[in-house]
Symmetry: D2
C-alpha cells in the first residue's frame, strides 16, 4: 500500500498557538499528530505524556508535535474551548492543539472522519514530504515511536510503515483508548 498524502486538518480553533496550523506549513519536518479526547483515560495516562516526551526529545526545527482534539462522545462535557484550555493547563501540555471541526453528519468530527480514525488515542506520523507513514490506534511503546521518528528524520526515500487498520469490535473506552462503535458509528 502506497503512503498517502496527509489530508488537511479541519479545525475550528487552536490552543497553544497564535495561528491556525496547516500541514503544508510543516513540509520539511516530521510531524506527529496525537488525536485525543480530554476524557479518554488512555490519552491522559499514556499518549499525551508520550507526545510531550517527543516534544522534549526532538528539535522543533525537525519534528512538529500537534495535538488534535477529536471529540466524538460526551460533546457537552469536553466540547468547549474553555474545558480544553483548562485541561491543557492542568496537564502541562505545551504543544499546539487543534480542535477538530464538528460535523453535521454525525458525532465524529471532520478530520477524524477524513483520516478514518478508529478512536482515541490515535498517533499519526507524517514524513518530510507530507505523506502519512504511521497510523496507529492505541498505546505505542516509547522505544518504537522514538525509532520511527528518527527513521523518518534520516530517510531519503523510505518504505511505507502504515499499519492496516484492523477490524476492531470494541466499543467504548479501555485502558488503551476510546473506540468508535455502536450508535456513534452510524453517522460515518
Amino acid at each position: 500500500m502506497e503512503p498517502q498524502l496527509a489530508k488537511p486538518l479541519e479545525t475550528v480553533d487552536w490552543l497553544n498557538s497564535s495561528n491556525p496550523i496547516s500541514l503544508e506549513s510543516l513540509r520539511g519536518k516530521v510531524v506527529l499528530i496525537e488525536a485525543f479526547q480530554m476524557l479518554c483515560p488512555g490519552c491522559v495516562s499514556h499518549a499525551l505524556p508520550q507526545a510531550m516526551k517527543v516534544r522534549q526529545l526532538f528539535n522543533e526545527e525537525d519534528v512538529a508535535v500537534i495535538g488534535l482534539h477529536t471529540v466524538f462522545e460526551h460533546h457537552s462535557a469536553q466540547g468547549t474551548k474553555a474545558a480544553l484550555e483548562a485541561f491543557l493547563h492542568e496537564y502541562r501540555i505545551s504543544f499546539p492543539v487543534g480542535i477538530d471541526a464538528p460535523s453535521q453528519q454525525g458525532p465524529l468530527p471532520k478530520t477524524m472522519t477524513a483520516y478514518q480514525m478508529r478512536g482515541t488515542p490515535t498517533s499519526i506520523l507524517i514524513d518530510r514530504n507530507g505523506y502519512v507513514r504511521k497510523h496507529k490506534f492505541g498505546a505505542e511503546q516509547d522505544m518504537v515511536l522514538g525509532a520511527e521518528i528518527m527513521a523518518l528524520l534520516r530517510e531519503q526515500q523510505a518504505a511505507p510503515l502504515i499499519e492496516t487498520p484492523s477490524e476492531g469490535g470494541h466499543i467504548g473506552c479501555t485502558e488503551d483508548g476510546c473506540v468508535i462503535g455502536g450508535e456513534e458509528n452510524e453517522g460515518v
Copy 2:
C-alpha cells in the same frame, strides 16, 4: 486536639446515587470522603483509583466511600454536571459523588470551605461516631490508608489521628494535587 464532629456536606447534586447522601445517614460506618476535581492530575492518577480500591476491598456495610467534587478553579470547564457525569463514566468511578455547593463569597465551594481544605485531592476519614479522624491533602500510601480504615473499623474508643494542616506555600497543581492559593484564596 480533639476530633471534631464532621460538618454536613453542602451539595447541589449527586451522581451515582438516586438520593442525596447525608453524613448522619452513615453513622455506624467508617466514611472516606475523597474531595477532587476532574481536571486535577493527582486526583485522576492516584486519589480516585485509590478510593476505588477502598470501595472494592471493604464491605459497603462497614465503609462508605464518597466522592466530593470541589471545583475551585476552571469552573466553566469542570463545573457542569454533564462534564462530571462523563468523567465518572470514562474513569469507571462507581461510588456516589456529591457536587460541592458553589459559594457567593468566592471561588471555593461551601463544603470545601467549611472543612478548610487546602486543595485537591483531600482525603477525609470519619469514624463510626461521625468524628473526623484524618484530614490529608495530597497523596497517601495505599498501605497507610488500608491500615487507618481498619483501625477505625476495629476501634472502641480511639485516639485522634488528625493531621495538623501544615502552612503550605504552594500555588497551583503539582503531581500530588491542586493547592488553593493566590487570588483564589482571597474570598475565603
Copy 3:
C-alpha cells in the same frame, strides 16, 4: 478451619540480626514472615519492597517483619550466606533474614516444607498469640496487607483469615513469583 500455631522457624543462619530469632520470642507482636529467594523476580520487584514498607509504617514494638530465605532452586547460585548478604546490602533490606535450613530429603528447605509453601514469595501473618492467620503465595495489594496487619493489631479474639491454598498448576517463575513444581516437587 481453625488457625494453627505457627511452626518453629528452622534456620541455619541469620542476617541483619546478631542472634537467631524464634517465633516464641515474638509473642505479643504481629509477625510478618516474607519467604523469598534472591533470584525470584516477583520477590525482588514486589514482595520485599512491600515488606520494607510494612517495616517503615508499623512500630517495631507492635509488628515484627522477618525475611526467610527459602532456596528451593539454583542452590549453588543463591545458597551462600555471602550471596544473600550482598543482595540484602544492595537492595537496602534492613529487617532480619533467616536462612531456611536445607533438607536431606530434597531441594525444599525445612521451614518451607513445614509450612507447605507453594513457592516464593509467600507472605505469612502470625497473630499476637502465635497463630497463623494469613498464608498467601504471590503478590498481595498494599492496601489489603495494611488492613490485615491493623486488624490483627486491634483484635481481641478474631476470626481466622487463612486462605485455603488453591491447587495451582503453574511451574517455574512468573511475574508474581516462583512456584514449586516438576522435579523440585518430588522430594516433598
Copy 4:
C-alpha cells in the same frame, strides 16, 4: 571529540551463546553493550529489561545486543558462572552475555577498565564501523535509546554522540545504578 574504535571485549566465558563473541565479528551491525551486575538494582529493574526491548524491537541482522557482566563488587556473591546462569534464567534474558575478565590489578574487571566505565549499568552503542558512539552510565529513556539506535542504523557518516563522562562523586548503588568509588577505585 572523535569517536574511538571500540576496544575488544576481554571475557572469560559466555552465556546464551555457544561461542565467544568478538566485536570484529559484528562489524556492519549496530551493537548495544549493556554492562551490568546481577545484584545491581538499577540494572535489574531498568537497564536489562530495556536491553530486552531493544532485542525484541530490532532485527538481529541489524542490531546486536550483548550483555557484559562487569563484577566490581561482591565478587563471591555474583562472580560465579552458575550464579549468573541462574539469574539470566529467572529474569528471562536471552541475549548473549559475556563475563568480563577479572584483573590481577584490582576489583575492576578488564573490559570495564579499558572502557573507563563509571559503574553499572553502562550502555554503550557501537556503530556499523566499530566506533563507540554512546557511552552512558545510569538510566536512559526508552525513547532516546530507540531514536539513537535508529540514527546509527540509518547513518552514512554521522557526528559523534559520545557523552563526556562527568566527574561523579557518588559511591555505591542508587536507584540508577552502582558507581565505582572508594576503595574499589584504588586499583585502577
